[in-house]
Amino acid sequence: MTSAPYGLSRPDLDDARAAVLRVHAGDGPRVWNDLLHTAGLTGKEPGGLDRMLVVMHGADPSTRLCALALKIRITAHTELTATHSIL
């Protein structure tokens, strides 16, 4: 993750993985691997989150909520970073 105002960091692919493992518990690794396969990612890509969020949005309902939660954090990070750059 990258640093940001108010200690809020922009989520990355590792955060998406943590969210999927969290809400799917024992089934998490399989779900994550399926998402990686669909997205065409290995899980190591530094900038892979945007592509992963698209795939997560089209996945099962719990995964979709994880994507939504991460998007909220991204928007907050983007807007607060812009505000700080102006100030």
């Binding site: 993750m1 108010y6 200690g7 809020l8 960091s9 989520p11 955060d15 943590a18 969210a19 969290r22 809400v23 799917h24 518990a25 099962d60 309902p61 719990s62 979709r64 909520l65 994880c66 939504l68 939660a69 991460l70 909220i72 954090r73 928007t75 907050a76 807007e79 607060l80 505000t83």
Partner: protein, 168 residues
């Protein structure tokens, strides 16, 4: 990020309960906005929200008086959301003055918005607190039992409404 907090919020059964609603329906959102507006009016508060607390963020599904980046994002990071405390407590949660409360004095959300007091009641289903209905005020405020009853009534209306949008 706050792994411990996110693990507490991201309980699979609780997230599945939230995922069982069509939270993106326009008519639902309009009705929830109306409930938030009603609660804000009755409690003379500048801000009222109906939200689901997801694993890493608060997702606002109905609101009155919300603006700026919070409105654009339709939520806040979970660690900044006052409603996170309501959900974790599973019962009404009150903050008289966040600037003087050691639990909230360092909360960037309060510092950025200038909001100070909070009253929230949980939205509960299946034994899980899924989210909260709340009012937030810019002045220190001691909320009364009547205030809690008004907000609880709003929360009951929210849950009755949500049942019509159950998809699983």
């Amino acid at each position: 990020m706050n792994t411990d907090l996110f693990d507490r919020l991201g309980v699979p059964e609780r997230i599945r309960e939230i995922a069982g609603y069509d939270l993106f329906d326009d008519d639902l959102r309009t009705s929830l906005d109306a409930i938030a507006k009603r609660s804000a009016g009755l409690l003379e508060a500048p801000v009222s929200m109906v939200s689901m607390v997801l694993d890493t963020s608060q997702f606002i599904i109905g609101s009155y008086g919300v603006s700026g980046w919070v409105a654009d994002a339709e939520g806040t990071p979970a660690e900044w959301a006052m409603c996170t405390h309501t959900v974790l407590a599973g019962e009404p949660y009150c903050v008289v003055d966040g600037t003087q409360d050691p639990r909230h004095a360092d909360n960037p959300f309060l510092r950025m918005t200038g909001l100070r007091s909070y009253l929230g009641v949980p939205l509960t289903r299946g034994g899980h607190a899924l989210g909260a209905h709340c009012v937030i005020d810019a002045r220190p405020r001691i909320f009364t039992d009547v205030d809690r009853a008004v907000l609880a009534d709003g929360a009951e209306k929210v849950m009755k409404l949500l049942e019509a949008y159950r998809i699983t």
